[in-house]
Symmetry: C2
C-alpha cells in the first residue's frame, strides 16, 4: 500500500518546448487520481504508460488555463474509449459553467457523465473518502479561488500478531475484538493490553499538493507531518516580492512551508520559464529544507 | 516568394504517445497562417521554431476537438506574450459561442481581440485577400459543418524585360503601361504585343487543405491544378465503407481527388490510430497517384 506521484508537467503558464504545464497523477493504493490538467495531459499519461481509463477522480486546483486546458481533450478521449462510469471532477467555481459549455458545444453524446463537485477553497475539509483513502481540501492564496489537495491513506486495520494468538490461545471472538483495538481479558482474568497483541501493517501516508499559492503559515499547519509536500516555487528568492504580488511563491517560501509543516520531503515545481537552469532554485530550497527535490517531468516519487 | 507548409500534427481524434492531432502552419510569402489547432499546437510551434506571435490569421476547418483543443491555450499564450493586434479566426458556426465562453470564463483581460469570421461551409468563396495572397473556402463533406482552405498566391505584377526596354527605347509611361499588361504603340506606329515585353517573375502557387471529408468530385474540381493538396486519408482502402459512414476518406479517395484535380503533389494525413505502419497507406495512394507523400509531423513542404 503506497502513494505514488507521477509528474506529467511542472511548468508555469508560459509554454516552452521542453516542459509541460501543471499536471500529476497521484496513485493511492492503486487508485489513480489526476491533479490538475495542463495542456498535453493525456499525451503525457500515454507516454508514461498510465491509461486515462484508470482515473477514479480528477482534482483541479484553480481555473487558470495552465492547470486546466488539458482536461477537456482528456474528457473527450475517455468518451472515444467508451468510458461508462461517471467521473467526478473536484474544482472551484465557476467550473460548472465551463463544463456545461463543453458538454453543449463539444460533446453532446459522451457515453459517461462528468460530474462537477464544487470545492470550497476557504475550507479545509474532507471532500473524498472511501475504505482506504481520504482527500482533503487545502485553502490556498492565489489570484483566483484555489485549493490544494491533501491525500491521506486511512489508518489500516490492525493485524493481530500470530505469536500472541498462540501464546494466549486467543479464540476467534477475541481475535476479532483485538482487531477492533480492544484489550483482551483471558480466562485467568489477566487483561492483555491491545498494543501487546496487534500492530499496524503499514503506517498511513500522506501527500499534499499545493499550487498555486502565496506563502501561507496556515497551509503549513494543515500539512503537518506529511510524507511529501509538493509546493510551487515559481520564482527564485531574489524575486520574492514579485512572487507575492502575483499570488505565487519563491523557493524560500516553499522550503519554509515544508520546514514548518515538518514534512519528510519537499518537491518543487511550477517554475517560471525564465529559469533555464533549475539547480540554483533547488539549492535555495535545500539551504532551508535539505530534503528537497525538483518535481521532474516524467519522474515518479513513491511513499 | 514561396508557400511552405509545416506539419505540426497529422493524427486523428484518438491520441497516441507519438503523434499530435491536426495542425499546420502555412507560410505564404512570409505571412504565417495556422490551419487547425489540435491539442499541443503551441508546443509544436515552439519545438519547430515558429513564434506564435508571427501568426497573421487562423483557419479552423471544423469544431471537433482534435482540430481545435490547442487553439484556446494558444490564444492565452499570445496574451501572455503581449500581442496587441486583433487576430482573425476563420471558422464555421458555432465558433462564436465557443470564443465568447472562452473570453468570459478564461481570458477577460486579453490585451488583443480574437475576431471570429464565420465561414460558410457550403460556398467556395474568397474569404481573405491582401496584396499577395488569397484564401478561398472549400466545401467539405463531414459529419459537421466543415471547410477546407485553398491558399493562392496572387499573380505577381509583370516585370518588363530590360532588353525590350532598350530595344524599343520605351519611355517611363510606356514601361508603366506594359507593367499593367497593355500592348505598346511605338512612335513608328508599330504595335508591340505585351507578351513580347513582359514576363511573370514567378508563377502563382496554390495549396489546398482538405480535412475532414468524404470523397468529393466537386472538391477535386475546386482544387484544379494546385501545386500541393493535403487530403485526409484516415483509413486504408479496405475500410472505405467505414470511412464513408464516418464522414472520412480512405487512401484511394485522397489519391483519386488528387488525380482528378491534376494536382502536382498529394500529402496525406489524419491517420487513424489503428495504423502503426503508414507505409501500406502510402503505397495504396501511390498506385493511383505516384506523387504522394505522408505529411510527417515536423516536416516542411515547400512550393
Amino acid at each position: 500500500m503506497s502513494i505514488k506521484i507521477t509528474i506529467l508537467g511542472n511548468a508555469s503558464a508560459k509554454p516552452t518546448a521542453h516542459a509541460h504545464p501543471s499536471s500529476q497523477v497521484v496513485n493511492v493504493n492503486e487508485q489513480y487520481f489526476l491533479v490538475d490538467a495542463g495542456e498535453g495531459t493525456q499525451r503525457q499519461m500515454s507516454r508514461l504508460g498510465i491509461s486515462p481509463l484508470k482515473l477514479r477522480a480528477i482534482f483541479i486546483s484553480h481555473l487558470h488555463g495552465d492547470h486546466l486546458y488539458g482536461l477537456f481533450p482528456l474528457l473527450s478521449t475517455l468518451g472515444l474509449y467508451g468510458r461508462r462510469t461517471p467521473l467526478r471532477i473536484y474544482a472551484p467555481r465557476p467550473f460548472g459553467e465551463m463544463l456545461e459549455g463543453f458538454m453543449r458545444l463539444f460533446e453532446q453524446d459522451l457515453p459517461y457523465t462528468p460530474e462537477w463537485v464544487e470545492v470550497d477553497t476557504t475550507k479545509h475539509q474532507m471532500i473524498f473518502s472511501n475504505d482506504t483513502t481520504e482527500v482533503w481540501s487545502l485553502p490556498l492564496r492565489h489570484r483566483v479561488l484555489t485549493a490544494g489537495y491533501l491525500f491521506r491513506q486511512k489508518e489500516p486495520q490492525l493485524n493481530v500478531d500470530k505469536f500472541a494468538i498462540e501464546r494466549y490461545s486467543l479464540s476467534v471472538q477475541q481475535i476479532v475484538a483485538a482487531k477492533r483495538g480492544e484489550d483482551i481479558t483471558l480466562d485467568s482474568g489477566e487483561v492483555i493490553p491491545n498494543e501487546r497483541l496487534t500492530y499496524l501493517p503499514y503506517p498511513a501516508k500522506a501527500y499534499a499538493y499545493c499550487s498555486d499559492t502565496n506563502y501561507s503559515a496556515r497551509l503549513a499547519k494543515l500539512c503537518q507531518g506529511v510524507d511529501i509536500i509538493y509546493h510551487e516555487a515559481t520564482y527564485a528568492a531574489a524575486e520574492r516580492r514579485l512572487a507575492r504580488e502575483r499570488g505565487h511563491s519563491a523557493t524560500v517560501d516553499a522550503a519554509n512551508v515544508a520546514l514548518k509543516a515538518e514534512a519528510k520531503r519537499l518537491l518543487i515545481g511550477h517554475f517560471s520559464s525564465r529559469y533555464k537552469d533549475l539547480q540554483p532554485l533547488l539549492a535555495e530550497c535545500r539551504e532551508i529544507f535539505p530534503a528537497t527535490d525538483i518535481a521532474e517531468e516524467g519522474a515518479t516519487f513513491e511513499i
